[in-house]
């Protein structure tokens, strides 16, 4: 790590720590931004590094969301009665119960999706190309439809997560969830950065570039694909658990397994920032979130129209993303040695 990078990381860390106090009105937005970055980074492990374009990571996100809330409630109160009572609460979490439940819930929300990913990985990751994309799309929607029919987690009427207990000031809730999501973001980023500096990333790239050749070279591709998916699932589940508490209300198709929103957002953010780079998803998620909030606020009702147009435009005209564009413009910054004669020759070939 050189000096410039160190300054950058410390700057971001300090910004992250002071941001909720400098912009107190945007605490929820900043927390959502952290979650979105986590989702974009985890999608990038599949779509960017491994070349397996999944629509199904929303499955782990929604699973984490339901699990975290269910554990948080179920540890202290009967779950069925809680969901049945809807908005009117006869059960109230004490602060200790709330935080205990949240901690255990987040662990479960991270671990169970990882196990699920490991179990279904062997069957699903054997599919290639568009079959994989459509299959994962089906998985996400099926999970949403099925969870919408299960009574104990609220079926179609939704599931209210435990309200934040009365501790300290009114600001406490926002700060708690902000720092929680910020910690998860740092955790995800450092973990993924560490992973990307090992042989594992090279194996994933080999799978993306030519899976059959990678297999012929003696790499057990299936094992690494499943491990990659499990890493994604772990952080997706964690993000989902926090998001459930932050939103305060879980609905099967509109919040948890929201393939039309979150499921597309994570793909779009990673592509916008640049697939297959470490910083791409971070930049993409930030740009996308700012754009989205601006648009959602000023043109309410037209947001999905804008989203559809945005997908088409980004995919067709900007598939390399911001990082890809920067790389083409300033190759020296990315440590590529540019030979002028070579560059001219390439332009002529084009």
């Amino acid at each position: 790590m050189n000096k410039n990078n160190l300054i950058l990381y410390i700057g971001i860390l300090i910004f992250g720590l002071v941001a909720p106090y400098v912009f107190p009105a945007f605490k929820v937005q900043l927390s959502i931004l952290c979650i979105l970055i986590v989702l974009a980074i985890t999608w990038n492990i599949q779509g960017g590094e491994m070349g397996y374009n999944t629509f199904g990571n929303i499955l782990f996100y929604g699973l984490g969301m339901y699990l975290c809330a269910s554990v948080q409630v179920g540890m202290f109160f009967p779950l069925a009665e809680w969901t049945e009572s809807g908005g009117e609460k006869t059960f109230v979490h004490t602060p200790t119960q709330f935080f205990q439940g949240m901690a255990v819930g987040l662990v479960v929300a991270a671990v169970v999706p990882t196990i699920v990913a490991g179990l279904i990985g062997y069957s699903i990751l054997g599919l290639r190309g568009h079959y994989f994309a459509i299959c994962t799309l089906g998985l996400g929607v099926a999970a949403g439809e099925i969870s919408g029919g299960i009574e104990i987690i609220g079926a179609g009427q939704g599931f209210t997560t435990p309200p934040f207990p009365n501790v300290g000031s009114l600001e406490a809730r926002g700060e708690f969830f902000y720092f929680l999501s910020f910690i998860v973001l740092i955790l995800t980023f450092t973990a993924v950065k560490a992973i990307y500096s090992t042989r594992f990333k090279l194996i994933l790239n080999a799978i993306r570039d030519n899976e059959d050749k990678a297999e012929a070279m003696g790499i057990e591709t299936m094992k690494y694909k499943i491990i990659g998916w499990m890493i994604s699932a772990f952080f997706c589940g964690l993000a989902g658990g926090i998001m459930g508490g932050l939103v305060g209300y879980i609905d099967s198709t509109d919040v948890a397994f929201d393939g039309r929103e979150m499921g597309v957002f994570m793909v779009l953010m990673a592509i916008l920032g640049g697939k297959g780079t470490l910083w791409g998803p971070v930049i993409g998620a930030t740009v996308f979130h700012i754009f989205k909030e601006g648009f959602w606020t000023f043109f309410l009702g037209w947001q999905y129209v804008a989203l559809g147009v945005l997908i088409v435009v980004i995919v067709i005209y900007f598939p390399e993303g911001i990082m890809g564009w920067l790389r083409e413009k300033y190759p020296e910054r990315f440590g590529e040695v540019v030979d002028e004669a070579d560059r001219k020759a390439q332009v002529e070939i084009k």
Partner: protein, 297 residues
């Protein structure tokens, strides 16, 4: 409802007949998907939304006092031009590229269409009433709406016409040539760009017919598109590209499966079971294919 299927056999007959009549419609949509998949190598996620749009055309005719059955003729004409417009604006830029790009781009179109239809027609579940009455079979134990029989008949008619058209006409031959080898067809003087546009237009027109029939027999809603896409995708992968009897059979099979899932699991799991079936079929296919994997192509 759970075990009524077994105790009361007439429900089985009812579900089978319903499923077959429904499946014929699915097969028509799947035929359009197979056509453009085979020719352009594109999977169109917006297929279902084109179907729903076709349905709204028939519904609007119904609102303005024209019998919705005429939608079967009007909807494909309008949808043909909608299809050409989509092709010119978006699809022709993704034809030769990575399949995932086409999936994502058509996903964007799907979201766009969904929301525009929601604005234009409202979020209500609507039905164009054809007033065709019902047919009773087996001492009134099995009730079949005539509109379902009508829609199955029209679907078969359109499918047969299209097959004959593809076999005999010049454009049909050009489409088949392009599907076999686009480059060779180009060398031999086929304007592939035009063929692609026509293929997408024909696909959209088929969706329009199916949509008009669905608006008569079932209900339509702006957000109901994706299940139709998934169903047609499923039918195509089960039947294989260019296997017409297979498409018809697997379409009917899917219809029957859905009716039974509806009876046994309950209506709330109907769509979920369709998506789950897709996953199961793909996984089955993966294990079957992994036995004879080819390394050199």
């Amino acid at each position: 409802m759970d075990f009524l299927v077994f105790q009361y056999p007439m429900i089985t007959v009812q579900a089978c007949l319903d499923g077959i009549l429904l499946g014929v419609l699915f097969a028509l949509i799947a035929y359009g998907m197979a056509l453009q998949w085979g020719v352009m190598n594109i999977i169109n996620i917006a297929q279902g939304d084109l179907v729903i749009l076709g349905g709204y055309i028939a519904y609007f005719m119904y609102l303005y006092g024209i019998h919705p059955a005429w939608g079967v003729i009007v909807a494909p004409v309008i949808m043909y031009f909608v299809g050409i417009a989509i092709y010119k604006l978006v699809i022709n830029k993704v034809v030769d590229r990575d399949l995932f790009i086409s999936i994502l781009a058509t996903f964007g179109i799907s979201i766009l269409f969904m929301q525009l239809m929601n604005f234009a027609f409202g979020a209500d579940v609507v039905l164009a009433n054809s007033g065709y009455g019902t047919t009773m079979l087996f001492d009134s134990n099995v009730v079949l709406p005539n509109s379902k029989i009508f829609s199955a008949f029209i679907s078969i008619l359109f499918a047969v016409c299209l097959v004959i058209y593809m076999k005999k006409s010049k454009l049909g031959r050009a489409i088949r040539a392009t599907a076999q080898n686009a480059r060779a067809a180009k060398i031999l003087g086929v304007d592939t760009e035009k063929v692609y546009a026509a293929t997408f237009g024909i696909n959209a027109a088929l969706c329009g017919v199916a949509g008009a029939l669905i608006s008569i027999t079932f209900t339509i809603h702006p957000y109901m598109g994706l299940p139709y896409t998934i169903r047609s995708f499923m039918i195509v992968i089960v039947a294989g590209l260019g296997n017409l009897p297979g498409v018809a059979m697997s379409g009917m099979g899917l219809g029957v499966f859905e009716e039974f899932a509806d009876y046994i699991l309950g209506t709330e799991f109907r769509i979920g079971s369709v998506f789950l079936l897709l996953v199961l079929i793909l996984v089955y296919r993966r294990f079957k294919l992994s036995r004879k994997r080819e390394y050199l192509k």
